[in-house]
């Protein structure tokens, strides 16, 4: 009955390395694959995680999530975890520029990739325009969802400095804001693009 990440991992491992065999019929391949031994969950490894351009060493197990590495083991607590079920987006980080839910990304999947978290965006002395505009527009009420969508929006703006409202919406569709600051979030992302393009100033 209960869903847990360990079951998720067992399923992945036990179903014949979906990641390697997937094609359009990954599921079929998974069923067809011979059972492989489940890695013992207590196996520990240490690896280097590149976060916001800095390298960090962290120990992890096969089942350790990227969120746990970032926010608990390395103490970069800016990334919030809310649902822990890959459904709210609060825990988002970028891996090589693409947003991922860090609560359901295994630490081992992030090794060797460039990880970007909210800490990479800006700080008190040097606010990123998105942080400044978000503040001015009230794009956060409680702020719990904020680091998550900011990171995803950064990923969007890195690829497209002039997104339309619909593009912003679909980029952020995987983020829940329970305070429903959505319309301010949309205006923030659009106007951040304007500032980054040099058409608006703060």
């Amino acid at each position: 009955m209960r869903y847990s990440r360990r079951d998720f991992l067992k399923a992945t491992a036990g179903s014949g390395l979906i990641a390697l065999t997937t094609g359009s019929d990954g599921v079929v391949a998974a069923f067809a694959a011979p059972p492989v031994p489940i890695p013992t969950p207590m196996t520990k490894e240490t690896a280097t995680f590149n976060i916001n351009g800095r390298n960090y060493q962290a120990e992890y197990e096969a089942r350790t999530t990227l969120w746990e590495v970032i926010a608990v083991k390395l103490g970069l607590t800016g990334t919030n975890r809310s649902c822990n079920r890959a459904s709210c987006g609060a825990c988002s980080v970028l891996l090589d520029g693409t947003p991922f839910y860090s609560c359901h990304t295994l630490a081992m999947e992030a090794v060797g990739k460039k990880i970007f978290t909210v800490e990479g965006l800006g700080d008190e002395k040097n606010l990123h325009p998105m942080q400044k505009i978000g503040y001015l527009y009230m794009a956060a009420d409680c702020g719990f969802c904020t680091p998550g969508w900011e990171v995803t929006a950064k990923g969007l703006l890195d690829k497209n400095l002039n997104p339309s409202v619909d593009e912003v919406k679909s980029a952020l569709a995987g983020h829940i804001c329970r305070c429903a600051a959505y319309s301010a979030i949309i205006r923030t992302v659009i106007d951040t693009g304007k500032v980054l393009r040099g058409e608006a100033e703060l």
């Binding site: 360990r6 207590m42 746990e68 800016g78 919030n80 459904s87 503040y135 702020g143 429903a180 040099g198």
Partner: protein, 845 residues
């Protein structure tokens, strides 16, 4: 960088997105005899002095109050940096992580419990169960709802704690249960109250006692009323409950240093939370430093997750290590309070001209695992009754609360609003049709207006006995007419299709309206007022209580405001800082700083609830600031040898109105007083708040129904609020956006029961099963703020954030009816019900 250097750059500035602010004239015909001047004495019914108009600070020549401004930077900017200190962000060296084992059954007792395997597992530090829970705060073998707490495991990591939680062996004896309202009401419901019956009943000496109901109130003679009526209708409605789902996982962190506990909690108070924690642990309050600066939403509901706090503190004590709990959404949902399921029956009698002359209202509520009568008792339960029947000569309202094996009913993004007003707003619409009136005109006929009086019996029922000792009480600032008329204008009500379902074609549009009024509606008193003394002479409890604020001027000329209350996205300190700035003669808010959310740093205060912070903590803040203002003027008068009456205060400078060279500054005065000048103020909130200071609101919606599929879309919303003077329209707008979206969702989502075990198990996967509106779902919306100027309060402000919140689900139902002729009496609104109604050719569930 710019590609187009000629084109002037757009300047990024905070601005209102979609709000219309409608100022009421300064002078209007209040019941107290017309226009009012600054400092006027306001009297009520029996001519006793109640308060000063505007509390001496009139809404005139305002520089800061009423201006759209971003929130306090020290509060809001950390949210964008990932640095707001939610309890979930606290990571300490050597910290343990806790995981809970919870009851999978709606009702059971623990037959056997074996933790020995779990205790031996790697990384496990402690397992807490009923066998070793503290005697001051026991756990029992009796489990009364699905999700009830069985055990807590603390281990080095969350994964290890979860492994161990899985290894705990529990055998349950399941017991007959009543999780749903239907089960709880049924005559063969299992006995959940040791033979007393599941219906909670008051003691016979309570004036609202009834042997067959939890709480009854009445007025006039209902039988006589129905005999006089020309049209009599009966209606039944059902509301299937709703949940709030805060974003931050409920939980806490505890850390001991010797006998001193530092506790990072989640909720809406610092001191009341600390007091209950201390009581549960059997220690002195002063031994605990309680910190809660930020919450990722609480909705009032998260307060109930404090149940876990004493256990977390206990495990930290026994293990000598810090402990953290972050509840998964399913376990959280079982503990935070929800909007209860309810069944409502009306019988309404009206004259041909539309006037209601008799009404009976009967409501049945699933209370969850508690015997409290919250929803049924006190003034709040008569809230919507009052809105529509304060002019009705004969009515009776009876409330029935049943204990059940469900999640506890309680505060959940307002209290008693959406769930109670669902039926009222549907009924008013159906009744308007029955008497052949437009729904707005029908409402205008019944709602109170400034000048409407309530007689003494009404008033005592409302619990405001002080201000009506000998007489009647009047509505004063109550923009009932304006919220309806301005809202109608903004949505274009004149273009509304007059015949339900009358528009041609497959996609049919329709408009609907709903109303609600602020549920607690009363503001407190501040120290220095007559009734403050009266109220504080009695014990104050129940999470209400005494509010204290401290305002201090430092040698740098900055003002520090100390308010204990945590911020859940409320940004209340932003509004309070604007009041402080205005009262002290600043033209900007820049000189005000806030210190909050920590029992070591801010003075004792109550729980913020019910959207009343501006008049509760606000009472304390305004009182302290008023004292500080007088204090500064006196000091300046002494230093400058100028009469106080001839001094002016502007941006930290106090100068003579006659000779501007005679001047001193806040900073100099503070320096001369060993570096600071501070004052403390207090406010109180108890049932007997000020009379009839509630706001009123309306929601207008336009929907489009696809009559082939039953799908429907929320096209536009106009959300009207009787705001008093809105202190900061920018923050207010953001708050009201959220209020509309969440209330809109409450129309379409009930308690998320498990499909496999309906009525016994709620869903266990959080956001997936309770589909929370995303960025793709937000409707176009316009806020209408009616600045109705509450005469009894500083600058004409009032509490309004939960004023219109109850109107939304009913408004949507009414709009769907107008669009396609299908009346949904059974919440939630679904396409299946719409399509079934269309098949039946219109009206019906």
């Amino acid at each position: 960088m710019s590609q187009n250097p000629q084109k002037p750059k757009i300047k990024i500035e905070p601005k209102l997105e979609s709000t219309v602010v409608i100022r009421q004239p300064m002078v209007r015909n209040f019941s107290t005899g017309g226009g009012h001047l600054p400092g006027d004495v306001l009297t009520e019914g029996d001519q006793k002095v109640v308060t000063k108009k505007w509390q001496g600070y009139p809404p005139e020549n305002l520089k800061v109050v009423g201006k759209p401004m971003p929130p306090m930077p020290e509060v809001a900017i950390p949210r964008f940096l990932g640095k707001a200190e939610y309890a979930t962000r606290v990571v300490l060296p050597n910290m343990l992580h806790a995981k809970a084992v919870t009851n999978p059954h709606p009702r059971a007792t623990i037959k056997s419990l074996d933790t020995s395997k779990a205790e031996k597992m790697p990384g496990v530090a402690y397992v807490l169960t009923y066998k070793n829970a503290p005697s001051t705060y026991p756990l029992t073998r009796e489990l009364n709802f699905q999700g009830d707490l069985v055990a807590l495991v603390a281990a080095d990591t969350e994964d290890l704690a979860e492994d161990a939680a899985d290894a705990i062996e529990v055998e349950y004896d399941t017991l007959p249960a009543a999780s749903t309202l239907k089960d709880a009401m049924s005559s063969d419901a299992p006995d959940l109250r040791q033979g007393k019956g599941n219906l909670v009943i008051l003691s016979p000496n309570n004036p609202h006692y009834d042997p067959k109901a939890t709480w009854v109130a009445k007025h006039g003679d209902v039988e006589k009323g129905f005999a006089e009526a020309d049209i009599i209708k009966e209606f039944t409605y059902y509301f299937a409950g709703a949940v709030s789902v805060p974003m931050q996982p409920c939980g806490s962190v505890a850390k001991w240093d010797g006998d001193k506990l530092t506790f990072w909690g989640m909720g809406q108070s610092i001191y009341p939370s600390r007091a209950s924690l201390a009581k549960a642990l059997g220690i002195e309050e002063s031994k605990i430093r309680f910190i809660d600066k930020y919450n990722g939403c609480t909705f009032g509901a998260a307060n109930a997750a404090a149940r876990f706090d004493p256990y977390i503190a206990t495990i930290a004590k026994v293990t000598g290590r810090p402990v953290k709990l972050m509840l998964p959404k399913d376990q959280e949902l079982a503990h935070i309070t929800i909007k209860p399921e309810n069944l409502t029956k009306f019988k309404v009698g009206a004259k041909k001209d539309g006037r209601i002359v008799a009404l009976t209202h009967e409501i049945h509520i699933s209370n969850g695992d508690q015997e409290a009568v919250g929803h049924a008792s006190g003034e709040i339960s008569k809230n919507q009754t009052e809105l529509y029947t304060s002019k009705v000569p004969n009515w009776k309202s009876s409330w029935h609360s049943y204990k059940s094996n469900a999640i506890k009913a309680g505060i959940c993004r307002s209290y008693t609003q959406q769930e109670v007003k669902w039926s009222w707003e549907n009924m008013i619409d159906e009744m308007a049709e029955a008497v052949g009136m437009d729904p707005i005109q029908f409402r205008l006929l019944h709602v109170p207006r400034p000048g409407t009086t309530l007689t003494k019996d009404w008033h005592e029922d409302l619990g405001k006995k002080y201000e009506a000792e000998n007489g009647v009480v009047h509505y004063d600032s109550f923009a009932s007419v304006e919220v309806l008329e301005e809202g109608a204008k903004a949505i274009g009500w004149d273009k509304r299709n007059p015949v339900p379902g009358g528009n041609p074609g497959r996609f049919k549009r329709g408009m609907g309206v709903g109303m609600s009024q602020h549920h607690p509606g009363h503001m407190g008193y501040h120290d220095g007022e007559v009734y403050f003394e009266k109220v504080t002479a009695q014990p104050i409890g129940g999470g209400q209580g005494l509010f204290t604020a401290e305002i201090e001027i430092g040698a740098d000329g900055y003002v520090t405001m100390r308010n204990a209350l945590p911020d859940s996205g409320t940004n209340h300190d932003t509004a309070l800082a604007a009041l402080v700035a205005e009262m002290l003669g600043f033209t900007t808010r820049d000189r005000i700083r806030v210190v909050w959310g920590d029992s070591d740093l801010a003075p004792s205060s109550g729980t913020w609830i019910a959207g009343k912070t501006i008049t509760l903590q606000g009472a304390a803040v305004c009182s302290a600031t008023n004292k500080l203002r007088q204090d500064l003027l006196r000091r300046a008068a002494d230093a400058l040898k100028v009469d106080v009456a001839k001094l002016q205060m502007r941006d930290g400078v106090i100068s003579s109105t006659e000779d501007p060279k005679k001047r001193t500054t806040f900073a100099e005065l503070a320096k001369a007083n060993k570096g600071s000048i501070r004052q403390t103020g207090m406010g109180v909130n108890k049932d007997q708040g000020r009379a009839l200071t509630k706001g009123v609101g309306a929601c207008f919606v336009e929907v489009e129904v696809d009559t082939w599929t039953g799908n429907w879309r929320f096209l536009r919303g106009v959300y009207c609020h009787d705001t008093g003077l809105a202190v900061n329209p920018l923050v207010a707008e953001a708050d009201m956006h959220g209020s509309l979206v969440e209330s809109f969702q409450m129309a379409t989502d009930s308690i998320p029961w498990d499909r496999e075990f309906p009525g016994t198990r709620h869903y266990s996967v959080g956001y997936l099963s309770y589909r929370i509106p995303t960025i793709m779902d937000v409707p176009e919306q316009t806020q209408v703020f009616i600045d109705s100027l509450e005469p009894r309060w500083f600058f004409g402000t009032k509490s309004f954030s939960e004023t219109s919140i109850g109107s939304v689900p009913g408004a949507i139902s009414n709009a769907i009816y107008n669009a396609c002729g299908v009346r949904i009496r059974e919440h939630p609104i679904t396409r299946e019900k719409i399509i079934a109604g269309l098949r039946r050719g219109g009206t019906g569930r």
